[in-house]
């Protein structure tokens, strides 16, 4: 067996993929070839050194990590809060507006204003519906139009965020190469 073959077997041995017969061949070759034996010894020394210097994390890792996690969990915002706050603000605004109208002009004026506001919203909705009918010839498609608009609004920031993450990852692997 040549030195080249012995080197291949040595690699397979280091990968833990060598069978008994090849292992015997390799060991026989190492006994008669000082060059290959030296390579084998060098690699064994590397493995021993890596094993000897296997770093152990400080004992304090778990308590520190768990302490930080507990403190973060205490500060954690409830999941529903981001949805509740804008809705509550909108509702408060509407109530304040209605109360103001009531205080200024009486109950009928307040009802009138509320009706006017609803009419404006309804008018806007009608315009979108008319526009979609004009475009697609079907009233049901205005829903599609609105949903597409919303998807785009959400999709653009998501796409930009994805690009940023992707750029970050590829930048890292370029550095490793």
């Amino acid at each position: 067996m040549g030195c080249r073959k012995a080197w291949e077997l040595l690699m397979r041995r280091m990968d833990g993929e060598i069978d008994r017969q090849n292992l015997r061949y390799l060991e026989n070759h190492l006994m008669i070839c000082p060059e290959c034996r030296e390579k084998h010894d060098s690699l064994s020394a590397v493995l021993m050194e890596l094993d000897r210097t296997k770093p152990a994390a400080p004992e304090s890792t778990e308590p520190k990590v768990m302490e930080k996690i507990r403190s973060v969990r205490h500060r954690e915002t409830p999941l529903f809060l981001p949805y509740v706050v804008p809705a509550a603000a909108l509702l408060t605004g509407i109530l304040v507006f209605l109360f103001y109208e009531y205080a200024m002009d009486g109950p009928m004026a307040m009802i009138n204003k509320a009706a006017q506001t609803l009419t404006i919203f309804y008018g806007a909705y009608q315009s979108v519906a008319a526009f979609s009918r004009f475009l697609f010839g079907s009233v049901y498609l205005n829903g599609v139009l609105i949903m597409t608009g919303l998807a785009l609004l959400g999709g653009i920031p998501a796409f930009l965020h994805g690009q940023r993450v992707k750029r970050g990852v590829s930048k890292y692997w370029r550095s490793v190469k």
Partner: protein
């Protein structure tokens, strides 16, 4: 599978189950961080940061892949980002430790000194490998990650990972053989000088 049980517990709100995962993988994270940052304090800080990151992103973990590889990947990315920010010189980083080691070595018996010298030589051969080779050697031989897991950590195909490990071993052999060659040359020179002197 055992990891998955702990992860499910964590996702169900059992924060203490995470401690089991920290205990299981802290040496892996610390080992990778130390090898990439070359600083014990920073490696300890990074270990904590990585686990906080893992905790925060646990929902995103894909169980199709190995949890060990996922943590290793987060650690490697974190360390490289940190290295890029500080633009440290990797080679000079062990200096402080080497100085401490030399100071500690004083007064050791000769045999121990020789053994230590050999260890230092092997260590410096490992350290002198380019990062992309060193990382694969550390992950495979020190942290016992499989080829598949290394592929998941680095994002490279199996052929590239195998090739890098093969080359890394070859480089290590060449570096250490060159040293042995120089030592042998020195010994021969001394022997020849002694012989010449005696004649």
């Amino acid at each position: 599978m055992d990891d998955m049980v702990q992860i499910k517990k964590c996702l169900a709100g059992d924060g203490e189950a995470f401690e089991v995962l920290v205990t299981r993988y802290k040496n892996l994270v610390y080992g990778i961080a130390l090898n990439l940052l070359h600083n014990k304090d920073e490696a300890a800080d990074v270990t904590q940061e990585v686990f906080l990151k893992v905790w925060a992103n646990l929902k995103r973990y894909n169980p199709e892949y190995s949890f060990k590889a996922w943590i290793a990947r987060i650690t490697v990315n974190h360390c490289i980002n940190l290295n890029q920010k500080t633009r440290r010189a990797a080679a000079a980083a062990w200096d402080e430790e080497v100085v401490c080691r030399i100071a500690a070595d004083k007064g050791l018996p000769e045999e121990e000194l020789l053994a230590k010298e050999k260890q230092d030589r092997v260590r410096s051969a490992i350290e002198s490998l380019p990062e992309m080779y060193r990382l694969v050697v550390i992950l495979f031989h020190q942290q016992s990650l499989s080829y598949d897991e290394i592929c998941q950590v680095t994002g490279y195909p199996l052929s590239i990972v195998k090739n890098r490990l093969y080359r890394a071993r070859k480089m290590l052999c060449e570096k250490l053989s060159a040293y042995h060659g120089r030592e042998a040359g020195k010994e021969e020179g001394l022997w020849a000088a002694g012989r010449h002197g005696s004649c």
